[in-house]
Structure formats: structure tokens, C-alpha cells
Symmetry: C2
Subunit: 562 residues, 2 copies
């Protein structure tokens, strides 16, 4: 359990730092890399996105989120926050390791380090690692059997000139940023996709966005604070916050998700006395394929929300696990499908712009994850934010999970960087787009066929894994006599009885204390089951609904409403 | 970023639960497994050490650490703690996920789940993973080239009857305990090595002990609390605590590490007013090969410390990354080495008993890690503690890192469980013991040869990676005129000047506020450099010391002291 500090390194080398001109395009990557020269980054080498980004001349630096002149007194719970210090006591107390300062001496030629407790690579009992992966664009399991590529990593590939990353590095300690090899890939990818409009943006690897969220709350939120989010939201985001004493304030939603005007209203009318808490400083939002509603914010909606964030000086946590699960436009049950993107450029253009891409202030932390686009078991994601915030985040990494599994990082590097490259990765994402389009179309076809439309309604999701089914609960025979949550449970159990498990909408309410929902929803995922099983499940759900609502021949028998 | 709850599973199966008699021996494992039948644990299957432990009839359950009758009011900073609630407000607020309750329905035959957002395995682009590992007992890199074993994991090995673990499971979400496959291995290993004397002990995987420590502070320590530890301690343990508002109180040490009487004295005389904090409830200790001092607590010392912990009702965090780096007895520069352990049983007997093995109360959390015995880049370790504490820890996992990388878990499982087995793993640990013995003997030989004994003294370490060099700083020409820390820096820089980096003792002080060390130390590691480089480095350090102290012909020239 030695600290993974640079001093802990035998023969450490910093990642080679070369700043290159021109904003990055997919095709520009290889030219740029050639110009930059070989990536030289040994065991626990220091790295930063600055080593791999375009020159940012002309772009301003991000806004800072501390108020340096103020000493670290606990914030008053009743204080409002114009010009306030946004960083928590905890986050500001994080110092670089005392051993870190000595890292500078590791550059002395001929110096021998007895400084740090890094084990010697010869004692790592994994001599070689190989993975079989698809060869773009032949991504299916069937194709991979025939044409897959086997990628092999040895222990000393770097020393032996075979690769820029190997087991001797990946199996040892790393720094809190993640490896230089993966930071290069995600920095380039982020520049290609988002090209943030301020200069000092950085990436750092995470062990997944839930962990990143826990760490980010601890950067921005004191006990007693509120965070804004969609009124229905990712349950773990709330459950990660609550033990820290952080509550959620839910913003109204429509078919495009969070409503900017509702957010403005909440913030403009925030009553410190009534809420017992200062005005929120953080918005947590899932802009694309939101969990649980499946809603996707349009470009205009994002701009409007960003403007409200500027007005009230709100920091935005852009949680985007489903960003690349944006699907082809839905054309209805019998219409011809929209042809897939012709190439990577067309694919990128078809994506709704990210908050990060419009973040002129540096008020966004974007959370990316490989969980939904490669595999959750990698436990690798990354954040992108201003250097100040990423530095706080990395200080926290050093005193918690340190960095993602080196084995995971090596597997991802071999596949994404060394084999596929950015172009192959985007091709993979296109294939995933089409796969999720098929899955969504299948569940929607089943819904059209099997659900009683007078009771169940939905919007075709444009992204993600979830379909949000609204139930006209006022038509239920027991509507007048049964509280909404009890009725929701009744329908849930009727569905289970019929052999289908579907998530209750109330599980996703942002406000947990005394919140009384007015509407009833169920969440269905189209990510997991096969098309046949999904169809069967929706048919069962339809039957359960009909039975529960007493529908005969498609008509409500004992309804109280319309 | 779907919540990794059991409800998120298509066709989930609980880990098969079979309770077996007889305490576990190395050879008993395979018989027991045969009796238990095939391990059946699919994607994100629920698991618990209870599935894999011996029957514990006759053993008492662990002490509980909450006081259930008390409502969750913030603890007074000045309160003492007899019969107090040891769990923090944060930890007590952790609830099982709202989606979890529905997991029960997944057992209904024929049920189709549209409940959770787990991606489908066919969309994981890694079709096969293979590693080349040593075949016990031929562990060296050279031998592995000739006789190494290639272990292969496919995507659907479980369904196809080839293994109990595969890529379709490892690459998907898992539960907060870690996979059943790895929980089985570490539970058996822990029972073989520690056999805890209470009934309800559990294991849970961690992403490393630093992260486990961060989570454990958040179970037991409120802002303002003190933690006890050795007066010199693992710097990251302190740096993880400080931002949480937790300070360290350093206990005096001797050549066996932490002194029980000093701990008793601190606790008996704890002055709440003076310290501005309630009496400590937690001891953080590294019993074997302590970082930075290299000290190893004897069995008697451990018993004495445990008794003091009982007296003052202290919870013990037993951080043991170096436990299996206990070395052969040191026989001096020219004596014959002690013959290695004859077999696994003799090896286990040669190990000093763990705190966990003497923990009749359930007041110990043992932290194990694969970082020092396999590789840090796995980012896998585990904790063992009472069911109550492990449950709190797992609740936290669910809202932070979730569980270690599935790829790491699969690699470890393939090697440790499926290929080596417990017997092979213990053989590996013996080979590591001999390797570290060689390394320690090499650095000690160099010290004997090159360091001026009138200035530098040390105890031969019995475990770990570190040699703690005490400097007779009162013999330094500038002793009278230079504060100790300045003198330490001067010597440090003189060593750097001579081409050797060695860690300053003051970097490891437990008490950071206004602590004035009375002694001067440097820490050298023998884990990282080759024997030749280590020897060269110690020679350089010797020269730097001689120069700095003005030694001529081995005599102090301008010394102030003895």
C-alpha cells in the first residue's frame, strides 16, 4: 500500500510534453502523433491532457471556483452564494503528497531511487496478456470469430520497442490521473467530440461515474446543501448524495427532459429559510437518454439550461453514459429506417452537442464512461473539466481509488488505441448506435402492439436504454380509494404475477422526503433482453395492465376518469 | 451508469449457498468444494462469505458497533464514548438501493426482466482473454518462459460448462461485495490463514487498501475525531484522513513497532478539553513490516495491543499489505541462511498470527491487498470484518467504486483459483518470501559495508519492503545551530547530490500539526532496485553521510556529541 507518488519510481520519466497546433479531427490524430514523436511514459509517469491537446491560443482560461482571499471557515448554511467559494472544506484541505516534492530529483541522470515502495516488475506473475477483439468494421460476435484480431501485451514491450504500454507499467502503481497512454486517448477523443471552448481543460480517468460523482459531491457540496436535477433521476446519484447530507431538488421535465424555465424559477425563488439550506450551486443532469425517463435534451434546450446556469452561477455535472447511445430517428412501426451515418464525420455531426462543447466559462464537469459503450466491468471512465477542478479530483483519487485497474487500462489501450484507433472506435460506436436503434424499435413495436394506448403512453426515446411508460392511473378502478404509490405497487405486482419485472417510477424520484408524485410511470429497459423476450415481456405487461384496469375488449370497464 | 443492483439482471441466480462443517485446511478446500457442488453465480449474483465458510457452531457473534436506541443526532465533539454509537451519521444513513427489494422476484421461474440497465454481453467487444502465468513451483520469469501456463477465458465459458467465471459475467456490472468467484477464494484463504474466532465474519473486495481506508474512516470517524497509529506511519493513511477532518495521534514505537503501554497511556489520559476532541475509537496499525519503520509486531505485542483495545473499546484497522512479505530470520552478513519452509503448512506456521485470528470480539477490520503480493495494477484487495461492518462497507461500495475491475477479478480468478489453487498460491507466497529475504539481505550487507555505524543504525526488518535508518544527528557539525528538520533536509540533499534518493523520516510523522521530531530517520526500500543498484545506492548514501558529518577515516571530525 505504498503511495503511488512519482518518487516511488525507479527510472521515472515524465510523459513527453509537446504542444501541437490545429484543432483535432479524426484524421488529424495520426499526423499529430507522428509530429509529437513516440509517447514515452514509464511506470507511474506524470501526465496531463496538456501533453496531448491542441494549442489553445485565443481561448480564455476557465473561471475559478475558489475565493482565495477567504480563510477556510465553515460556510454558513444560510448564506447565499454570489462570489462565494464553491470548493468544500474537505476538497480545499487536500494537499499533494509530501513525497511528491521529491519527484523532481528523479530526473537527475544516474540517480538511484530507494525512495518508494513500488514492487519490482519481475515479481509480477503475469507474463503476457492477450485479448481477442473485433476488427473494424466487422464487430459482431459471429464476425469476430472469423476475423477477430488477437492483441498481445508482454511485460517489457516498451523496453523492447514493441509498444508504448506494457504489463510492467500497467501492473505497477500509477498516478491519480490514470496512465499517460489512456489519458492521451481520452483527451484526443474528447477534443474530437467536444473541443471545449476554453483553454485549460483536462481529463482524468475515473473508476466509473458513480465513484466520480461521490468524489465530485465532495468537491462542491457541504452537508446540508441541495443539488438540482431532473425530478426523476438516476437513483444512485441520489443515494450517493444522501449519506453525505446532500439533498436533491427536482426540476420539472418534459419530453426533452429538464425544463430550463423551471430551473430558473426554483433558483430565483429559492427561500433559504424555508429550505433550511443555501441556494444550490450544482446541477446534476443526464442530457442524453436520461435515466429513467429516456429523455434527450435538444441543442436549444441545452443552451437554455446553460444560460440559466450562468445566470445563477451553477456548476453543471454533465453525466453522459448514454451519449453515444443516441439512436437513429424513430420512423414509426412500418416506415423505412433512416439510413445509417455514411461515415465517422457524419456520425459526429448527427450527435447533439455536449455541454462541454458550449462551456465558455469552464462550469461543466463532463463524465464519460466506458460502461455502456464497451463494458461496465472495465470500471473505467473519465471526467473532463477545468484544470483547477480536475486537480482537486486527482488529489482525491490519490487518497482513495488511486486510478483504474491497470489491467483494464491496458486492455482498453490495446483495443481502442493500438488496434482500432479513433476511427475504428467511432465505427464501433456507429455499430452500437444501430444495435440500440434496433432494440428500441423492437420494444416500441411491441408497445404499439400490446399496450392499451388509453392507459399507457410514451415518447420514443432518442438515446439510451430506457423507455418511460406513463400510466393514466386516474382510469384505474381503485383510483379514488388508493394512494398513488399503493396503486403503483399493485400494478407492479400484477406485472410480476404475469411474469415481467419492470421498474417503478417512484424509485427514481429526486426528492425523497415527503415527495408525493402526481403521475405514475414505469421504466422498461431495452438494453438487456433479447428481442423475443422483450416482446413477450411487453405483451405480459399489457395483459397485467388490462387486468388491473379491468379493461374488456380494449375499453375501460370501471374507470373513474375520461 | 445503471445501478448495479440485483434487479438489473437477466436470469439472475444467487450464489449457491451450502454451509460446510470442519475448519478449513489447505488440503480441505478441494474436498469441501466437491461436497458443495459446482459454484453457480451468474451476472451480478448475490454472494456472501457465508456461502463459503465453515460452520461456525460454538463461536459467538461479533460485538455490534451501533447503539440502536439512539436517534441520529450529531455526536458532541466533547463526549466520551463508553457504550457510544461507533458508526457515523454518514454510514448509518446508507440504505440499500430502492431497486434492490425487487431482486427477490428475479427468482420467479420464467420471469423476464426489463428492470435494469445492464448491457447485453453480445455488445462487449472482448471475445477472449488469455494470460500467461507461472506453473507452480516454477515461478521465475525465466522458468515461466519455458513452463508457463496459458489460461484462457471466453465470453460464455459458464454457459458452455468450461468454467465458473467468464467474460460475460466479468465484463458486466457486479455487486458491491465483488464477484462470488473471488469472494469464495478470499474467504477460503482468510479462513486458512486467520480462522477468525467469532462466527459472523465476512469478506468484501476492495479497489485497494487506500480506498478501503477512506471508506472505513467514513464508517467510524466524524470530522474532529482522532485516530491512533504508530508515531511514524503510512503517509497516505494520514493524508486520506486529514481532508475528512480526522487527525492522527501517534503512539510511541520500539523495534517491534507500536508500544501497547504507550497506547494505553494516551487513551487513559485523553483530555477532551485539551485535545478538543473525544477519545479515539479507532487504531490504524500496520503490524508487519510497518511502513516506514519496517517494524514487525511479535505475537505477544499483538496480544498486548489487542488487550488495550479491549480495555478502551478501540476498533482496530489491521492494514496488512506486507503480511506475506514476512521474511526468513536474518542471520547476519556471513552466516548460513535459514532453510526455507518445507511446505505450505510450515510456511503458515512461520507467520506471526494476525489480529483477525485473535479477534474474539469482532473489533478488527483486516485489510488485505494483492498489490504487494501479485501486482498493484490489479487494484484488488479485500477486507475481513464482522457482518455488520462489512455490510456498511458494501453499501458504500454500491455508491462509489461499486467493485473492482471485472477484468482484474477474472485474471486473478483464472490464476489463483482455477490454475494455482490455494496450495499453488501459498507456494508463490513462499517464493516471494525468499525473494524479499534475498533483497533484504542484500541491502543489509551493503549497509554493513558502507554505512558509518557510529552515525547510522538500523534493525534488520523481519517483513515488508523498508529499512529504517536512524541517524545520530547530534553528531552532526551543525547540530547545535540547525533545527532537526533543516538538518534532515541538508542530509537528504547531500544524498541526492551523491545520486541517491531516499525518503525523509519526517514525511511519515503521524501528527502533522506542530509535531517536533526528536530523532532523525531515513527510509530506504529494498523492493524496487536491483541488488547491484541497491548496493551502489547505499554506498553513495554512506559517502554522503560521511561528507555531511565531516567523517575522516571513519571518525567524527567536528561532532558535538559522544
Amino acid at each position: 500500500m505504498a503511495p503511488p507518488t512519482a518518487i516511488d519510481i525507479e527510472g521515472v520519466t515524465d510523459t513527453q510534453a509537446i504542444v501541437l497546433p490545429n484543432p483535432l479531427t479524426i484524421n488529424g490524430v495520426s499526423a499529430r502523433r507522428t509530429k509529437a514523436g513516440k509517447l514515452v511514459a514509464g511506470t507511474a509517469a506524470f501526465t496531463s491532457s496538456d501533453h496531448f491537446k491542441s494549442q489553445t491560443s485565443g481561448k480564455p482560461n476557465a473561471k475559478r471556483w475558489d475565493r482565495k482571499s477567504v480563510t477556510q471557515t465553515p460556510p454558513s448554511i444560510h448564506a447565499d452564494h454570489p462570489h462565494a467559494d464553491y470548493l468544500t472544506i474537505e476538497s480545499k484541505a487536500r494537499q499533494p503528497s509530501s513525497l511528491k516534492g521529491a519527484a523532481q530529483y528523479l530526473r537527475n541522470p544516474g540517480l538511484i531511487s530507494l525512495g518508494g515502495g513500488l514492487p519490482c516488475a519481475e515479481n509480477f506473475p503475469i507474463e503476457e496478456l492477450a485479448i481477442k477483439v473485433p476488427s473494424p468494421p466487422h464487430f459482431s460476435e459471429q464476425e469476430t470469430k472469423v476475423s477477430g484480431t488477437v492483441l498481445t501485451a508482454g511485460k517489457y514491450d516498451v523496453a523492447e520497442g514493441r509498444s508504448a504500454y506494457d504489463l510492467s507499467i500497467a501492473l505497477n502503481y500509477g498516478l491519480g490521473t490514470g496512465s499517460a497512454q489512456m489519458i492521451r486517448f481520452v483527451t484526443e477523443h474528447t477534443e474530437i467530440v467536444c473541443d471545449p471552448p476554453y483553454a485549460d481543460w483536462h481529463c482524468a480517468l475515473t473508476v466509473g461515474s458513480t465513484s466520480a460523482l461521490d468524489q465530485t459531491y465532495r468537491i462542491f457540496c457541504e452537508r446540508g446543501d441541495y443539488v438540482l436535477s431532473e425530478e426523476y433521476t438516476f437513483a444512485s446519484a441520489v443515494e450517493t448524495a444522501l449519506p453525505l447530507g446532500i439533498k436533491f431538488a427536482g426540476v420539472k421535465m418534459d419530453d426533452q427532459g429538464l425544463i430550463a424555465e423551471s430551473m430558473d424559477e426554483i433558483l430565483s425563488n429559492w427561500n433559504v429559510q424555508e429550505r433550511g439550506a443555501r441556494k444550490p450551486r450544482v446541477l446534476y443532469t443526464v442530457p442524453s437518454g436520461q435515466n429513467p425517463t429516456g429523455a434527450t435534451q435538444s441543442t436549444e434546450r441545452r443552451k437554455a439550461i446553460y444560460k440559466v446556469a450562468q445566470k445563477h452561477d451553477i456548476y453543471i455535472l454533465e453525466d453522459e453514459p448514454y451519449y453515444f447511445l443516441q439512436m437513429q430517428p424513430y420512423t414509426g412501426p412500418n416506415a423505412a429506417p433512416v439510413p445509417p451515418p455514411e461515415n465517422n464525420e457524419a456520425f459526429l455531426k448527427a450527435l447533439i452537442p455536449t455541454y462541454l462543447s458550449m462551456d465558455v466559462d469552464g462550469r461543466v464537469m463532463r463524465m464519460d464512461s466506458f460502461s455502456k459503450v464497451i463494458a461496465p466491468g472495465t470500471r473505467v471512465g473519465w471526467i473532463t473539466a477545468s484544470a483547477q477542478i480536475v486537480e482537486r479530483f486527482v488529489r482525491h483519487n490519490e487518497c482513495s481509488n488511486q486510478n483504474p485497474s491497470g489491467i483494464s487500462q491496458l486492455v482498453l489501450y490495446k483495443m481502442l488505441d493500438e488496434s482500432w484507433g479513433h476511427s475504428g472506435y467511432l465505427q464501433w460506436l456507429i455499430s452500437l448506435r444501430l444495435e440500440y436503434t434496433r432494440r428500441r424499435d423492437a420494444i416500441l413495436a411491441a408497445c404499439e402492439k400490446f399496450l392499451p394506448k388509453e392507459i399507457v403512453s410514451w415518447n420514443p426515446p432518442a438515446a439510451g436504454m430506457f423507455l418511460w411508460l406513463k400510466i393514466a392511473h386516474h382510469l384505474h378502478p381503485s383510483y379514488a380509494t388508493t394512494p398513488l404509490l399503493d396503486l403503483e405497487e399493485k400494478i407492479f405486482l400484477a406485472a410480476v404475477e404475469r411474469g415481467v419485472l419492470i421498474s417503478r417510477g417512484s424509485w427514481f424520484t429526486a426528492e425523497r422526503d415527503g415527495f408525493v408524485p402526481q403521475d405514475m410511470f414505469f421504466r422498461a429497459t431495452f438494453a438487456a433482453a433479447t428481442e423475443e423476450k422483450m416482446t413477450e415481456a411487453i405483451e405480459r405487461f399489457g395483459k397485467a395492465i388490462r387486468e388491473s384496469f379491468g379493461l374488456v375488449d380494449g375499453k375501460v370497464r370501471n374507470g373513474n376518469g375520461a
